[in-house]
Amino acid sequence: MLGLNSKDTKFLLIVIFLTLATPILLQPFPEGSGMAQFNAGYPDLMQRFAIYGIFAIGFNILFGLTGYLSFGHAAFLGIGSYSVVWMYKLLDYNVIWGLPLAIITSGIFALAIGFISLRRSGIYFSILTLAFAQMSFALAYSVLTPLTNGETGLQVYRSDKQVLLGATEPTSPHFFGIVMRENFWEPSVGNWQFTFNNGYYFCAIIAILAFYLSLRIFRSPFGMMLRAIKSNQQRMNYTGLNSRPYTLAAFVISGMYAGLAGGLLASMDPLAGAERMQWTASGEVVLMTILGGAGTLLGPVLGAGFIKYFENIFSKINDNVLHTWFGFLPDGIEDFMVTIVHPFVGKGWHLTLGLLFMAVVIFLPGGLVELGQRVGRLFRRRDINSADAEAKAAKQRANTPAE
């Protein structure tokens, strides 16, 4: 189906199901219970999962397949956001104008930056991309203020023309009248509260398309060439293949993914700031990809989800919450436990994430996906063992003469 073999089709269907069921799956704890703060099924966070998932999927096409580690992909994220907000300012709040423009402009920027950066490989390539991204950040922050509105960030003002804006049109981002920040269904089952948000489903559908596209690229001759570049560039050249256009194409494709992700960020919240281009944002997508598993299809999405979950959920656990957790302990021990746990949660969520990242890199070089595979293999082996034992037992029974 859709140009995929049966195994990939099944895989895609599972991913589609998980994506569409996210508002339910991420809301496992009833409202009002002590665990409710671990629920992640609220629109803002789910949108981030989908958007950063797209960002990481695109980054993985470059880093996972060719091994070229770009430290400047946040620049494309920012360019995408600015494109979309400019379309709000000039035309109207319909995201249909901005998103294609975000993909095109980031593609053009990626072509230019990639053309220069890809003259080098390894650490020099990384440094070149980092330099370009920091340059874009600095320009957006200062010199290009007329285009980017500098420190304040680009946003829509009342004085903006918005030539296509109709009288009845919503005054926040929408897709032909479907307003992103509105929820279309808020059912509650018992104590469980679910939110089905327009914006999330808009991002989710685009994320599924982005995932499908990356799946096709992974299975295509082009994807095989990219893996060949990572494996042995010398042999690649002596086989009559020019590796430069291949890496450049991968760079542009991943830049377009980043631009799309940036555009979607501005589609959920009509604001674009220069800090979106800063190197920390570029580093974040590298972490996501490695944490989840570089070069695997699902890994980057898992990594993106993991990091965004930590950023939004772990950071909310403050000392008050800790005191309620450890409240059952005697006072002295309670304070002691809170002191110990304190640096790892709340503002210290980076510490937990850092330790987790170190553990993954050291023990699971293939990322979270490798963890999944190992666990899967463990279960399968157990199945085989038990099947073996049964077969042996059956054989023995057959060999025992009837009495």
């Binding site: 140009g3 995929l4 073999n5 096709r216 690229i217 299975r219 295509s220 001759p221 082009f222 994807g223 095989m224 060439m225 893996r227 060949a228 990572k230 494996s231 042995n232 010398q234 042999r235 690649m236 050249n237 002596y238 086989t239 009559g240 293949l241 020019n242 256009p245 291949y246 194409a249 494709i253």
Partner: protein, 252 residues
């Protein structure tokens, strides 16, 4: 006129004259060996042929066209394939993928953005790749990761990757370097078989005289960057200059 014509090639590395006025002519459909002691300039010559190095002066013509100034992938597209001293293969890919890549390169040229086709759907190329794997006796390993194979198998795979492109000239840089005697003999048999099956010109750079005399139809002896003699294997064996060059090295 040979398929490969090297005329008056000089190459200096700083103060060292690596190649001095090298002339070489390789006739189509022959096996031409280039031998010589260490430091004779064999590898430098080979690197000049494939575009890795550019000679200071002289010309290198392949089939009437100059290869000088062309990049390695362009030279390969002209019909020259190269086997390296240590096998260069795509270690992270499977054996089948390793052979599919040269098939694509042969059909689609040095770049094509075929991002939405699927590899198994290219029936014609798959058949071609499978056939070459049968030829080199590796079809059972088709789904194995190339990096996990033995050195001898890697060598055979690399040759399969070169041969599937149907090159007009195959350059072999010490194809049996570091191999056990049994593996060396297998490689000789494989090369003989290849030669018997198809029209192909081979230029072999080799240290091992056993390999050279079992395969070559013409031999060029290089010493200190210049060709000493070029002749048939029978004549080379008894040639006083060759004996001098090799014995001299053995005594020194």
């Amino acid at each position: 006129m040979g398929i490969l014509e090297v005329k008056g090639v000089n190459k200096r590395f700083g103060g060292l004259q690596a190649l001095g006025n090298v002339n070489l002519s390789v006739t189509e459909n022959t096996v031409h060996a280039i031998i010589g002691p260490n430091g004779a300039g064999k590898s430098t010559l080979l690197n000049c042929l494939v575009g890795k190095l550019i000679p200071d002066t002289g010309s290198v013509m392949f089939d009437g066209q100059s290869v000088l100034g062309r990049k390695p992938h362009e030279i390969n597209q002209m019909g020259i394939s190269r086997v390296f001293q240590t096998p260069e293969i795509f270690g992270d890919l499977t054996v089948m993928e390793n052979v599919m890549i040269p098939c694509f390169a042969k059909r689609d040229g040095s770049f094509r953005l075929h991002a939405f086709e699927s590899v198994p759907n290219e029936k014609e190329l798959v058949e071609k790749a499978e056939q070459i794997l049968i030829d080199v006796n590796m079809i059972d390993q088709r789904n194995q990761h190339a990096a996990s194979m033995s050195r001898g198998d890697k060598r055979r795979l690399e040759m399969a990757m070169c041969l599937v492109q149907e090159p007009r000239l195959l350059l072999l840089d010490e194809p049996t370097a570091g191999m056990a005697r049994a593996d060396t003999n297998n490689t000789i048999d494989l090369l003989k078989e290849i030669k018997a099956k198809r029209d192909i010109t081979m230029a072999i750079i080799e240290h091992d005289m056993h390999v050279v005399f079992s395969l070559a139809e013409r031999i060029t002896v290089l010493a200190q960057g210049t060709p000493l003699v070029e002749d048939t294997p029978e004549n080379i064996k008894g040639h006083p200059k060759v004996q001098e060059a090799y014995l001299g090295q053995a005594h020194g």
